[in-house]
C-alpha cells in the first residue's frame, strides 16, 4: 500500500466527515463551511490521485478548483448577505488608499 493510498483514504474520510456536517447543518453557514472544506479536500485528492496514477497533469484540475471554487463561495455569501447578485460588494469601484 503506497503512501498515496493512505493519504487518499485520509482525505476521503475527512471529506465524509465534512459532508456529515453539510447534511447536519444546523445553520446554512455551517453548510457553506462544510462545502468549502469539501472543495479543499477535492483539490488535495485530485493532486494525490494524480501522483498515484502517475499523471501529474491532473494538477490543472486542482488549479481550476482552487481558483473557481472561490467564485462560488463568494456568490453564496453575497446572496446570503444581500439576497441578490447584482450590486457590488464594497459599493464603489475605486477606493482611496
Amino acid at each position: 500500500m503506497s503512501i498515496f493510498a493512505v493519504t487518499a483514504i485520509a482525505i476521503l474520510v475527512s471529506a465524509a466527515m465534512a459532508l456529515g456536517r453539510a447534511i447536519l447543518g444546523p445553520t446554512s453557514y455551517d453548510r457553506i463551511l462544510a462545502v468549502n472544506a469539501i472543495g479543499t479536500k477535492t483539490v488535495l485528492l485530485i493532486a494525490v490521485l494524480g501522483f498515484m496514477n502517475g499523471r501529474p497533469d491532473f494538477l490543472d484540475l486542482a488549479l481550476v478548483y482552487s481558483l473557481v471554487n472561490f467564485v462560488g463561495t463568494l456568490a453564496v455569501l453575497k446572496y446570503f448577505k444581500f439576497g441578490t447578485l447584482r450590486g457590488g460588494l464594497s459599493g464603489t469601484r475605486k477606493r482611496g488608499n
Binding site: L19, R31, T42, V64, N69, L74, A75, G87
Partner: protein
C-alpha cells in the same frame, strides 16, 4: 485501492444526492449540490476521465452555483410544500429503476477487454489519431476532429441557450422596469462617460465597507483566473481542457468581477451588445472553418485541406474550432449571468 475509492465516493455521492432531495430550503439544496458536484468530479478523476472531470470542475465549482443563486434571487429559496403524495410517480420510478438495475446484470463486466466500448471505434482512434491528427490529447482530437460535427451541434445548443435566456429574461424586464441604466444594448455604452456611481441604481450600490478583504483579494486573483482560462484554451491539444472548460473559467473571472464590483461596472467592460456579438462570433468561427474546408475541396469540417500538410491542417482546424467553442461558451455564460443577476431585485434574507 481504486475500487475502494470509487465505492467510497459513490456512497458519498448517494448520501449527498439524497440529502439534496430531503432538504426543503432550496438555498441549502444548492449548497449540497455543490458538494455533490465536487464528489462527481472526483469520481471522474478516479475513472481517469480527466477532461470530463475538468468540465465538471469548471462548471460545478463556480458557475452552476452562481446561476442557481441567480435563479433563487428571482424566485426565493423556499420550496412550495407538496400538496399530495406522489404515489404513482414513486411507483413508476421504482419500477424503472428496478428494470434498469436488472438490465445491468446482462451488461458486460466493467473494464473487460472485449466490451463493445473497447472494440468498436476506440481502437481505431487510439491507433490512427497520432498519425492522422497528431495531437497528444486524444480526447481533443476525437471531440474536435473525428466528432467535429457533433461538437458543432453542441456549440449551437449553447448559442441557442444563451440567446434564449437573453430573449426571455430581458423581454420580461423591459416590460416591468424602465431604469435607463438597466436597458441593454447601445444605451449601456453611451452611459459610460457618466459618473458611474451616480448612474447606478440603489440596488447596484448594495454592499458595505466591511467587504474590503474579498475586494482586494479578488483584484489580485482576477488576472490570474483569466490567464489560466486562456492557458486551458490553448493547451487543450496537450493536456486536459479545451474550449469549453476555458470558456467557463474565463466567464468565471468576469462573474467574480461582477460579484465584487457590481453588475454595472461589468457591463461597462463587456457590454451586453459585445456579449451578443461574441456569442454569435464563436459559432460563426466554427462554422466558418467548415465552410472554408468545403471551398478548399474537402468535406464540411475536414481540416486536412486547410494546409498543405494534413496534420498541420488538422492542428490549425482544431485550434480555430476550439477557439470558437471558447468564445461562444464565455459569451453564453456571461449572457446568462447578466440576464439572471440583472433581473434580481433582492429578495432579502429569507434563507434561515
Amino acid at each position: 485501492m481504486e475500487q475502494f475509492t470509487d465505492i467510497f465516493l459513490m456512497l458519498l455521492l448517494v448520501a449527498g444526492a439524497l440529502s439534496v432531495l430531503y432538504v426543503r430550503n432550496l438555498f441549502v439544496a444548492t449548497m449540497l449540490l455543490g458538494a455533490v458536484s465536487f464528489i462527481m468530479a472526483l469520481i471522474f478523476v478516479s475513472l481517469d476521465a480527466v477532461d470530463v472531470a475538468f468540465t465538471e470542475a469548471a462548471v460545478g465549482a463556480g458557475i452552476s452555483t452562481v446561476l442557481y443563486l441567480g435563479t433563487l434571487a428571482l424566485v426565493g429559496s423556499d420550496e412550495k410544500p407538496a400538496r399530495r403524495r406522489a404515489l404513482v410517480p414513486l411507483l413508476v420510478s421504482l419500477l424503472v429503476g428496478t428494470a434498469l438495475v436488472y438490465a445491468t446484470f446482462d451488461m458486460p463486466a466493467f473494464g473487460r477487454a472485449d466490451n463493445p466500448v473497447q472494440t468498436h471505434v476506440a481502437p481505431r482512434y487510439i491507433e490512427e489519431s497520432p498519425k492522422e491528427i497528431g495531437v497528444p490529447n486524444m480526447v481533443t482530437s476525437v471531440l474536435a476532429s473525428y466528432r467535429g460535427f457533433d461538437t458543432f451541434g453542441e456549440v449551437t445548443v449553447i448559442f441557442t441557450a444563451g440567446i434564449g435566456v437573453l430573449l426571455i429574461l430581458s423581454q420580461l424586464r423591459r416590460r416591468r422596469e424602465d431604469e435607463a441604466d438597466l436597458t441593454d444594448g447601445p444605451d449601456t455604452d453611451t452611459n459610460m462617460d457618466n459618473d458611474a456611481a451616480a448612474s447606478a441604481s440603489p440596488a447596484e450600490r448594495v454592499g458595505s465597507e466591511h467587504d474590503l478583504v474579498p475586494h482586494v483579494v479578488a483584484k489580485l486573483l482576477i488576472p490570474f483566473i483569466l490567464l489560466f482560462a486562456l492557458y486551458v484554451q490553448f493547451h487543450g491539444d496537450f493536456g486536459p481542457g479545451g474550449g469549453f472548460q476555458a470558456g467557463v473559467i474565463f466567464a468565471a473571472g468576469f462573474i467574480l468581477y461582477s460579484l465584487i464590483f457590481g453588475l454595472h461596472f461589468t457591463r461597462q467592460i463587456v457590454s451586453t451588445r459585445l456579449v451578443k456579438f461574441l456569442l454569435a462570433l464563436g459559432v460563426v468561427l466554427y462554422g466558418g472553418v467548415g465552410v472554408v474546408s468545403l471551398f478548399l475541396g474537402g468535406n464540411f469540417l475536414d481540416y486536412n485541406v486547410l494546409s498543405a500538410d494534413p496534420v498541420a491542417g488538422q492542428h490549425l482546424g482544431i485550434l480555430l474550432v476550439e477557439l470558437g467553442v471558447g468564445i461562444t461558451v464565455t459569451a453564453a455564460m456571461i449572457a446568462i449571468f447578466y440576464a439572471f443577476a440583472g433581473r434580481a431585485e433582492g429578495r432579502g434574507n429569507d434563507i434561515n
